[in-house]
């Protein structure tokens, strides 16, 4: 079993969803039930394989890449098919493998207009392959391809199943992210040509991420590193999204169908922050050091701006979208400190934000289905009409604002704390200022989330919905798809070591190369 997992585990977990999608293409669209079952089956199969990988994973050695696959791929450019799983990839891969089946379950009886479950599920499975692949790829070109594979399905998910303004939102999403990744690719190529072997001084001409983070930018002048980092900064920063590249996000989230929003918030945004942690920071340490204060600045601007944006929103979904900008700001602040403490916090923040915000978007979707509106002004009294849903909303809001004991806390608090003592060479006073500003951000977060809760869940139901029989409490499919996330919020909040213990060795190892 272990041998099999070693050789095939990661390949299978990446491509099983794609295989499922291919099988589904052959099934006629009229067979809706079979199609749904196939989609669920393939995403569950991927989850089971992922589970086996998690069980078999050598946690004592979480800093090393495990289940390594290294095969020929594109020889003419010396790019190889390298997959590997370490403590940084593991939580994010697990998150993906859990969220996608939940989305399939949720979509069971919630296929958004204009229907066509076949295409909807096929796109979702292709997305899963792209996302899992990005987290386990250990070759820059392979990473790039997986990173881009997610673009098309997400574009169509928003464009076809989205809200009224979907055309604008989908194309904006597409253009922004493609612009970022085009520049990112240029940076990858620069790394390819400029990285040298520190021992011999020869050009490496490799895309192997293991080698590139080992040499950590050796042979590349500091000034050049700054330029190369800038390309990645835009590429990953658009995806995160960092202020000022964030403008696509509220539009995309608002227009996307529920499941699209969930996947976008829970996983797609993490591709950007993961890129910073895995590629930009370890491979270009000098570039990272030069940019870190600016990243920190944009991160805290994001925190405050996102929070203020939330306070101004009248639409529940848009509010959650803006809260993502703020939360990803905390993640980026953690990364900007360039310390193992900060980056651990960032990875925790990614997972926590993935679960919590994913859950909030699920809720928004269900609210929209019941009330046919997400205008906060028109909602109210959810605790009376659908008490369980109201309580879940309360629970998730508390988690999102960083209440200790719930998952959100461990992403936010250590990230703020890490800014107190950033890595050597970074301006301490600047980062301490960021720390204070970020702390103010948490207060604002509490403000907008509690206000949201007060306006939507508390009070008496509005007249127009008072007698609506569409407003029912949490349904069975909703319970099934939500329960794992709710458990996760509580579990990771109570036992944060579950994630920290896995990520820490890998983060320490990754940062050690540069020093």
């Amino acid at each position: 079993m272990t041998d099999f997992l070693n050789d095939w585990g990661l390949t299978l977990v990446t491509f099983v969803p794609l295989a499922g999608a291919l099988v589904m293409m052959a099934v006629p669209a009229a067979e809706e039930k079979a199609l749904k079952q196939l989609a669920l089956l393939s995403s569950l199969l991927a989850m089971v394989i992922g589970g086996l990988l998690l069980i078999d994973f050598d946690y004592g050695n979480a800093g090393a890449l495990q289940y390594l696959v290294d095969a020929r791929w594109i020889e003419v450019i010396n790019s190889r098919y390298i997959l590997g799983l370490d403590g940084i990839s593991l939580p994010l891969m697990a998150l993906t493998l859990v969220v996608v089946p939940l989305c399939v379950v949720y979509s069971w009886d919630h296929i958004p207009e204009p229907g066509n479950p076949k295409a909807f599920f096929i796109l979702m499975l292709i997305l899963e392959t792209g996302m899992v692949g990005t987290f386990v790829a250990q070759d820059l070109i392979l990473f790039f391809v997986f990173f881009e594979v997610v673009l098309l399905p997400m574009f169509f998910m928003i464009a076809v199943w989205g809200g009224e303004n979907r055309r604008y939102a989908s194309i904006k999403f597409f253009l922004f992210t493609l612009f970022g990744s085009a520049l990112m690719l240029l940076s990858f190529l620069a790394l390819f040509f400029l990285s040298t072997d520190p021992a011999t001084g020869e050009s490496l001409r490799t895309f192997d991420m293991r080698v590139l983070s080992d040499v950590a930018g050796a042979g590349i002048l500091g000034a050049t590193q700054i330029w190369i980092f800038a390309g990645m900064f835009i590429g990953f920063g658009v995806k995160v999204p960092m202020f000022p590249f964030h403008t696509w996000l509220p539009d995309a989230h608002t227009e996307a169908p529920t499941v699209g929003s969930v996947i976008l918030a829970a996983i797609l945004l993490k591709l950007g922050t993961y890129g910073f942690v895995r590629i930009a920071v370890p491979m270009l340490p000098e570039g990272a050091e030069a940019w870190a204060p600016w990243i920190g600045l944009l991160a805290v601007i994001g925190i405050i701006y996102g929070a203020l944006g939330c306070l101004a929103q009248t639409d529940m979904k848009r509010l959650i979208a803006f809260s993502s900008v703020a939360h990803m700001g905390f993640v980026m602040l953690g990364i900007a400190t360039l310390t193992d403490f900060g980056i651990n916090a960032a990875i925790f923040g990614m997972v926590a934000h993935g679960i919590i915000t994913g859950m909030l978007f699920f809720l928004a979707g269900s609210v929209k289905e019941r009330y046919h509106t997400l205008e906060i002004r028109r909602l109210g009294g959810m605790l009376v009409q659908a008490p369980r849903m109201g309580w879940i909303l309360g629970f998730c809001s508390m988690a999102s604002l960083g209440l200790p004991g719930l998952a959100g806390f461990w992403g936010e608090f250590p990230a703020i704390l890490s800014a107190y003592s950033p890595a050597e060479g970074l301006p301490v006073e600047t980062f301490r200022t960021y720390m204070v500003v970020a702390a103010v951000g948490t207060v604002l977060a509490a403000g907008y989330l509690l206000w949201l809760l007060q306006r939507t869940a508390m009070g008496a139901p509005r007249e127009e919905f008072a007698d609506s029989d569409e407003i029912v409490d949490v349904t069975r499919t909703e319970w099934i798809s939500w329960a794992p996330l709710l458990v996760g919020i509580l579990l990771f909040g109570l036992v944060p070591g579950l994630i920290f213990d896995v990520t820490d060795p890998a983060v320490v190892g990754l940062l050690a190369n540069g020093g």
């Binding site: 003419v76 450019i77 464009a159 597409f174 253009l175 612009f179 240029l186 190529l189």
Partner: protein, 509 residues
């Protein structure tokens, strides 16, 4: 007087001909002649078989290409004017296969339109013959003969819908512009001959590379030759014929022009740059830089406003020509860079052939229902003909360069070649390529969202409820090009292995 003539007569001796090396051309020629015979002998009855015969001829010509590739040795015949190496073989294969796909696309179109079928396929075969010759030509005269051999049938094919005004306009514009370009080209060639005293590209390189070469003559010669081919590859600002010709010509012919004919122009440019002009990077690099940047921006910006898919593809073709010209702007930096640049353009040509022919295959299939190529007629295609909509999306996104579809690797190779010398000019052009990919995505995605997002037009004068039936041959073309587009994107080594070629190695030795 008489004495000198007699020495000339005596001096002629037949060159030793390597028959294996020219076997693909001979096969093609044989099938062209066979088509003529079938036409003369069987008359009307022959019409049933000509299309099959033409496609068989193209595939049969692949056999000697494969045996030559298997043999692996570089061959040179006609005193070195005709060279068979990996580079020419891979391009010959591209031309022959592209020609085959064009035959598949033409079969129903030409038969149903009651056009002159025999003549059409004869023209097609002779045009492909010209291209195949072009791939091996290493001498100015051979290049020119090959160019005319492929152009003149192409002029005729563009006007094939004889009773349609637009088709006449298309052919006439193409002809006038093409002849003008040929004249410019010939003038440039005469200047180069004047400077070098030889028409062989290798000799030209030797003669113009040294300091002693007259700079003005060489510069003018290079510029004129490049401009002449600039028309053929429809580079900005020599692209003006392309949109009108593409729109008016029969769509299969448009597919042929936009892929095969453009590729033939590139093959000539590549041979010229990498063999003939290679030593004069100071002359051709700036020229290529400007042409490439102008074509990318010009083509993409004009494509944004198009309302007709064929015209849009014409302008996108201008931009694609810009991507392919870009590596030539750094080609002279070093031998290694030259190899990267050449491989990248050849890779691009091969992948571009698959994805662009595929896009035209969908246009042809859809036009059978809508009788139009207006972008608006693509609205709601996904609802009533999902297969074609998915195929079109694949081809368009491949053209945009979105992984994992073929186009990404093509663009990647281009950018790799641009960055490899680490010069400021190269990097800036790389950034321009990146920016243009984003601009281009906008109009490709616009068609995609028409197909997927919009509802079918209500007042349409065509049926929007049943799936469009595609003829078998068009389906075959779709499957072939679609499979190639996907395979090249997921396993780029399949194409990269063959397109990893060199030309400058012969110079360095």
């Amino acid at each position: 007087m008489l004495g000198s003539v007699s020495t000339l007569v005596v001096a002629f001796e037949r060159p030793a001909i390597d028959w294996h090396a020219i076997a693909p051309e001979l096969t093609l020629l044989g099938f062209g002649a066979l088509l003529t015979l079938v036409d003369i002998l069987w008359l009307e009855r022959g019409r049933a078989v000509v299309s099959a015969l033409a496609s068989f001829g193209l595939l049969a010509s692949m056999v000697p290409v494969l045996t030559l590739a298997w043999d692996g040795a570089d061959r040179s015949t006609f005193w070195g004017a005709y060279v068979v190496d990996d580079y020419s073989l891979v391009m010959k294969a591209v031309f022959l296969l592209a020609g085959y796909v064009v035959v598949l696309l033409s079969t129903n179109y030409i038969a149903e339109g009651d056009y002159w079928e025999n003549e059409y396929y004869q023209m097609l075969l002779s045009a492909v013959l010209g291209m195949v010759v072009m791939a091996s030509a290493r001498d100015l005269v051979t290049i020119f003969v090959a160019l005319e051999l492929l152009s003149i049938p192409a002029y005729l094919m563009a006007t094939w819908r004889k009773r349609d005004l637009r088709s006449n306009e298309a052919g006439l514009k193409y002809y006038l512009m093409g002849v003008f370009a040929s004249a410019v080209l010939l003038y440039g060639m005469s200047l180069l001959y004047g400077a070098a005293g030889s028409t062989m590209l290798v000799d030209i390189d030797a003669a113009i590379s040294g300091d002693g070469a007259p700079l003005a003559v060489v510069t003018l010669g290079v510029i004129f030759v490049v401009v002449g081919f600039g028309f053929k590859v429809s580079a900005f600002p020599f692209h003006t014929w392309a949109p009108d010709t593409y729109e008016g010509a029969p769509t299969p012919v448009t597919a042929f022009l936009s892929v095969a004919s453009k590729a033939a122009g590139f093959v000539a440019l590549l041979s010229l740059v990498f063999v003939g002009f290679w030593g004069r990077a100071d002359v051709y690099q700036p020229l290529m830089w400007v042409l490439a940047a102008a074509s990318m921006f010009g083509g993409n910006l004009m494509a944004l406003r198009q309302t007709n898919v064929v015209r849009l593809l014409a302008y996108s073709g201008v931009a694609q020509a810009g991507y392919m010209l870009a590596p030539l702007a750094v080609a002279g930096e070093s031998l290694a860079v030259a190899d990267d640049a050449l491989s990248s353009v050849v890779t691009y040509l091969a992948i571009y052939a698959a994805m662009n022919l595929g896009a035209f295959a969908v246009v042809i299939a859809v036009a059978r229902r809508t009788a139009s190529a207006g972008i608006d007629t693509y609205k709601g295609l996904f609802r009533y003909s999902p297969g074609l909509a998915v195929a079109m999306t694949i081809f368009l996104m491949a053209l945009a360069g979105i992984p994992p579809l073929g186009g990404w690797f093509a663009k990647f190779e281009i950018v790799l070649a641009l960055i490899s010398p680490a010069t400021a000019w190269g990097v800036v052009l790389g950034v321009i390529v990146a920016v243009n990919s984003v601009i281009a995505l906008y109009y490709y995605a616009r068609i995609a969202s028409h197909m997927w997002v919009e509802a079918p037009p209500e007042s349409a004068d065509f049926d929007t409820t049943t799936p469009i039936k595609t003829p078998t041959s068009v389906t075959a073309a779709l499957v072939l090009t679609g499979a190639a587009t996907l395979a090249f994107g997921i396993l780029p080594q399949w194409v990269g292995h063959f397109t990893d070629v060199t030309l400058v190695a012969t110079l360095a030795g």
